[in-house]
C-alpha cells in the first residue's frame, strides 16, 4: 500500500448537519407564512418577496466578488435574511423598498461587520428599522386591495374591538408574513422538531410578555386582550424566527432565558407605553446589543466545578 492515508486530529467523523442545511430548513419553515402572505395580500406580496430575496443574495454576491472573497451565497443565509425582511414589509410597499432594505441588511449590517456570524444585529430587523425610520409613511401604510383601516394591533391599542379568530388565522392587515399565527407556529414546530431552534427563547419571550401585559396592559388578566396581543403584530414571527437568530442571540443556555425575558419586557414597554402599537423589532434590536453582556454573566459552570476544589 503505497498511498498515504489522510490524517487529522480527532474526531474523525462529522454530523451531516451543515450551515446550509440549517438555513434551508429555516427557509422551508418560513414558507407557510410567506405562502399565506401571498394568499392574503395577492401578487404584490409575491413580487416584494422575490425582489427582496434577490436583492439580499445579489448584494452578498456582488460584495464578495468585489472584495475578492469566497462567495458564500451557497449557505442560503442571505435567502433567510431576504425572506425575513420581505415578511416584515407591508404588501403595499413599492418594490424598491425591498431592494433598498435588502442592500442595507446585507451590505451595512452583515458584510461590513465581517459577514456571516459577525453581525451584532439581526440584518433583516435592522433593515426594517432603517426603513421604518426613513420611510415611515410607506412602512406603516397597511392599506391594500383587501384591507383598509388599521392593523388589529393598532385597533386594539385605540380600544376598538378586534376579531381574534381572524387574527389567529391571519385574515387581517399587517406586514406580509406576520398576520397568520397558525402559519408561523406551523413553521416553528417544524424547526423545533428538527432541533434547529428550541423553546428557550420563544418560550421565555412569550411568557414574560404575557406577564408584563397582564400587569401593565390596563386590562388585567383578560384572555381576549392577551390573545389579541399574542396573535397581533410581529410577536410570533419575531419570537420564533428573529429572536432565535443564531448569530445575534446569546449562546449560553441561561443567557437565552435572560434574553427572552428581556425581549418580553421590552416588547411590553414599547407596545403598551410607546406611541406605536408595535415594538417587537425594536425590542429584538436592543436585545441584540445586550447579548455580549448577557453572555458574560451567564457563562455555565463547568462540569465538576460546583463546590469542587481547584488545584
Amino acid at each position: 500500500m503505497s498511498d498515504l492515508m489522510k490524517v487529522s486530529s480527532n474526531p474523525h467523523v462529522r454530523s451531516k448537519v451543515t450551515t446550509s442545511s440549517i438555513m434551508m430548513m429555516v427557509v422551508i419553515a418560513l414558507l407557510p407564512a410567506a405562502g399565506f402572505g401571498i394568499y392574503n395580500f395577492g401578487i404584490d406580496a409575491l413580487i416584494l418577496i422575490v425582489v427582496t430575496v434577490a436583492s439580499t443574495v445579489l448584494t452578498e454576491f456582488a460584495y464578495e466578488k468585489l472584495m475578492k472573497k469566497k462567495v458564500t451565497i451557497g449557505d442560503y443565509s442571505a435567502v433567510v435574511t431576504g425572506l425575513l425582511l420581505a415578511l416584515n414589509l407591508p404588501s403595499s410597499a413599492p418594490w424598491w423598498i425591498g431592494a433598498l432594505g435588502g442592500i442595507f441588511a446585507i451590505l451595512v449590517v452583515k458584510m461590513l461587520f465581517g459577514g456571516l456570524g459577525q453581525n451584532f444585529m439581526n440584518p433583516a430587523l435592522a433593515a426594517r428599522c432603517f426603513l421604518l425610520i426613513s420611510f415611515t409613511s410607506i412602512m406603516t401604510n397597511f392599506e391594500c386591495d383587501t384591507y383598509t383601516g388599521a392593523t388589529p394591533l393598532a385597533a386594539l391599542k385605540s380600544g376598538e374591538p378586534v376579531d381574534i379568530l381572524s387574527m389567529v388565522i391571519g385574515r387581517t392587515s399587517g406586514t406580509i408574513g406576520e398576520t397568520s399565527m397558525i402559519a408561523i407556529v406551523l413553521g416553528a414546530c417544524f424547526l423545533i422538531l428538527l432541533g434547529v431552534i428550541d423553546l428557550r427563547i420563544p418560550g421565555s419571550y412569550i411568557a414574560s410578555f404575557v406577564i408584563f401585559a397582564c400587569l401593565f396592559g390596563g386590562h388585567g388578566f383578560d384572555p381576549a386582550y392577551i390573545s389579541a396581543q399574542l396573535a397581533g403584530g410581529g410577536l410570533m414571527l419575531g419570537a420564533f424566527f428573529m429572536a432565535t437568530d443564531y448569530v445575534t442571540r446569546p449562546i449560553t443556555k441561561n443567557g437565552q432565558y435572560v434574553y427572552g425575558i428581556l425581549l418580553g419586557i421590552l416588547t411590553g414597554i414599547f407596545r403598551i407605553f410607546g406611541p406605536s402599537s408595535e415594538g417587537v423589532s425594536y425590542a429584538i434590536i436592543i436585545g441584540n446589543l445586550l447579548v455580549p453582556l448577557i453572555e458574560k454573566i451567564t457563562l455555565p459552570t463547568a462540569f465538576g466545578m460546583k463546590g469542587g476544589k481547584r488545584a
Partner: protein
Amino acid sequence: MAKLTFVGGIHPYDGKDMSKDKPIKAVLPKGDLVYPLSQHIGAPATPIVAKGDRVLTGQKIAEASGFVSAPIYATVSGTVKAIEPRRVVTGDNVMSIIIENDGEYEEVEYSPVESADQLSKEEIIGRVKEAGVVGMGGAGFPTFIKLSPKEPEKIDYVIANCAECEPYLTSDYRRMLEEPEKLVEGMKIMLRLFDNARGILAVEDNKPDCIELLKKITKDETRINVKALKTKYPQGAERQIIYATTGRSINSSMLPADAGCVVDNVDTIVAIYHAVMLGKPLMNRIVTVTGDAVADPRNFIVRIGTNYHELVEEAGGFKEQPVKIVSGGPMMGFGIFDLDVPTTKTASALLCLTQDDVSKMEPSACINCGKCVEVCPGRVVPRKLADFAEHYDEEAFLAHNGMECCECGCCSFVCPAKRPLTQTIKSMRKMQLAKRNKKPAPKQEKAKA
C-alpha cells in the same frame, strides 16, 4: 442518587453491527514484533535486553523507570533484532525493541495462585505493577497507581467502564459476552483492595445481552451491581461515567479517587485478573478491526507488538481502498497515514474508512448556533474557547475554564460550520499543560474507548 446519564453528548452513527456478532479470533504474528518503550503515560521503560539476545514469550524486556511507568514483556519467543526508533500511531518516532519471531512461542513459567485470598493487598498491587498493566481504554495510565490511592478505605465505588461509547468498537462487548467471568473475577480482586467499596459494572443500554449476562453471573455477589447506562457518546469518559453511576462530579484537576471512585475499563480489569490469578504479564489485547473498507470486520485477540498490516490481512484485507485509517475509535482515535505501526497496549481498534468527513468538509464561519454548548459534557462554551485559542488569548482561555475540556470531540462533531473546535482547543490545552508541568502530577484525562 445516581442519574444514569449526563448532560450533553451526541449520538453518532455507531457502526457496531459490522463486527459485533463475530467471535473473537486469535492472531499469531508472522513478521517482526515492535515494542515501543513508551506505550503508557509516564516515563518510557528502560530496555533490559540487548541486540542478539534470545527472549521467551512472557519475558520482561523493558523495566519500568520511575514511579509512573510500566514494564514491557515479549509476546513471542525469538531474538532481539534491534533497539531503534520506530514510528508509532501518533506519528512520533519512539525508541522500540524489535524482536524477530521464531514461531515457537516458547513461554516462561508463570506463577499462578489458587485464589486471590492467599495474597495480601500489597502483593496484589505488586503483581499488577509487575505485569505492566496500564489503562487499556486509551489513556495508558499505569493501573497499579490507580489501585493504590492515598486512602483506600475512602474508595466507595470501583467502576468497571463497560460503556464502550466509541462508535464502531465492539472489543469490550465481545469480551463481556465471551469471558464475563474474568471481568467479574477481576472486579472481585479489585474490591479486595477497597474494603468499603461497591463494584459497579456500568454498561450502555445498547448492549442488553451483556447486561443480562452480567446480572446473571453477579446475582450472588452482594458487592457488585450491574448498571445500565443511557447510550450516548461520551458515556465512557471517566468523569461522565462517574457522574452517571454515582452522581458525583469531578473536574479536570481532581482524580476519580477524590470522589471516592476507581474506574477501569473491561480489558484492563481482565488484565488485572490475568496478572493476579495467573501471574501473566500484559501480553495481548482485543482489537476491533473494522470500517467499511475492511472485507471481514471483526475482533481479534492480538499479541502486543503485532504490525497493523497483519491485522488487516487477518480481516480479509481491504475490499475497497481506504481513505482514512484510525487507530482507535472515530471520536478519540489517532489518524494514521500508514499501516506500518505496531499494536500497543492502548490500541483498541483499527478503523478503516472509505470516506473522510474531515477533508470533505471545508470549515466555514461560525454562525453561533450553540450546538457545541448544547452537547459539551464539560459544560464549557467551545465556540468561545476555540476563538480564544486561535488568538492565543491564554487569560481568557483559562478564565472560561478551557482546561475543563475533555477533548471528547462532541463539539467538532456537531458543528454545522465544520469548524475544528476540539482540535483548536486541544492544542491550546496541550500548550497550557506543558507550561503547568513544573509540578509533575500526571492525570488520566482521556475518554475510555
